[in-house]
Symmetry: C3
Subunit: 139 residues, 3 copies
Amino acid sequence: MWLQKVIQLKKRARGFHLITHEIVQQLPELGDFSIGMMHVFMQHTSASLTLNENADPSVRQDFESFFNRAVPENEPYYKHLDEGSDDLPAHLKSSLLGCALTIPITGGCPNLGIWQGIYLCEHRNDGGRRSIVVTVHGE
Amino acid sequence: MWLQKVIQLKKRARGFHLITHEIVQQLPELGDFSIGMMHVFMQHTSASLTLNENADPSVRQDFESFFNRAVPENEPYYKHLDEGSDDLPAHLKSSLLGCALTIPITGGCPNLGIWQGIYLCEHRNDGGRRSIVVTVHGE
Amino acid sequence: MWLQKVIQLKKRARGFHLITHEIVQQLPELGDFSIGMMHVFMQHTSASLTLNENADPSVRQDFESFFNRAVPENEPYYKHLDEGSDDLPAHLKSSLLGCALTIPITGGCPNLGIWQGIYLCEHRNDGGRRSIVVTVHGE
């Protein structure tokens, strides 16, 4: 049994955002899967997806602070400059964090740990709406 | 054909640990799959899973040294401090390395390269036992 | 419906290389899958795979520059030295970027965003030919 659909996420500001609920509420069909896998794939190269702590918003603020220091803008050796100072760092952050998640499905729900949530990591200052392709397979 | 089970890993000290054998020995059913995929999913946000060199323990020591420098504790700009100085860096390391692996199954075995092993990356000083959800699908 | 095959990539110089076409042209069977998942798995610990910008070669040059700075060679605390100064950094980069990609299949093609391409990230000075195991599953 396969399910595949494109979800357009709401536009977010630069930073790390908890989007578990926004994704799951657009997938009422998950209830039909007793065992399976859910693949969430972002079709972009300047944003990313990761799983992390779903309770304290300061974690997500610290993520933005850390990644801005680990991947600075305006390094003198950068050559890809045409799309603004946030662009090349956004590409680098996207590959460090990754643009896809695979999550087990158990009993009709994503089998996340109690502290795990899905983060949209928006690395551009004005990234716009992001598209994700969700593919679910199971029985 | 689907298989899904939860495995409780042994408690590990902070650091990088080779756990290929501990996982595979709890999955005797893998022998039934001629072709398939094995998904190993850690239900935690302060530990991670990665594939890397399975022979020389100094690689895993260097991993711990590197990630402690790349993601330092006690940075003055961190806001998420309530759970100890190792906690926020553990969350960051978890997202840099990722909490899940997908490995091809061929002829009843994980089709790893000869130098590849599964690392449990324990980023907390006292992380306790970690739970992973293993989902195998194939024919 | 399952498909699994090993692909030997051409030898590449150290750096980041766009290999989408080299992979897809060796998978004519993709046209048989209306919905599915494609898993691309590198059986090595000193190279990696990532998705990123497929148009401007300067992005890939900046990736090489960035990762050489983020994961320097010859750090005095490294212990794993026997295989050359590029070896331990290659292992670290491989885990930061990851050795596997899962990509949705839609209408017989990998459903990549218009700017997404598959990068082979060769972290060794003389890495040789790299093997990847491609597993496709779908209907």
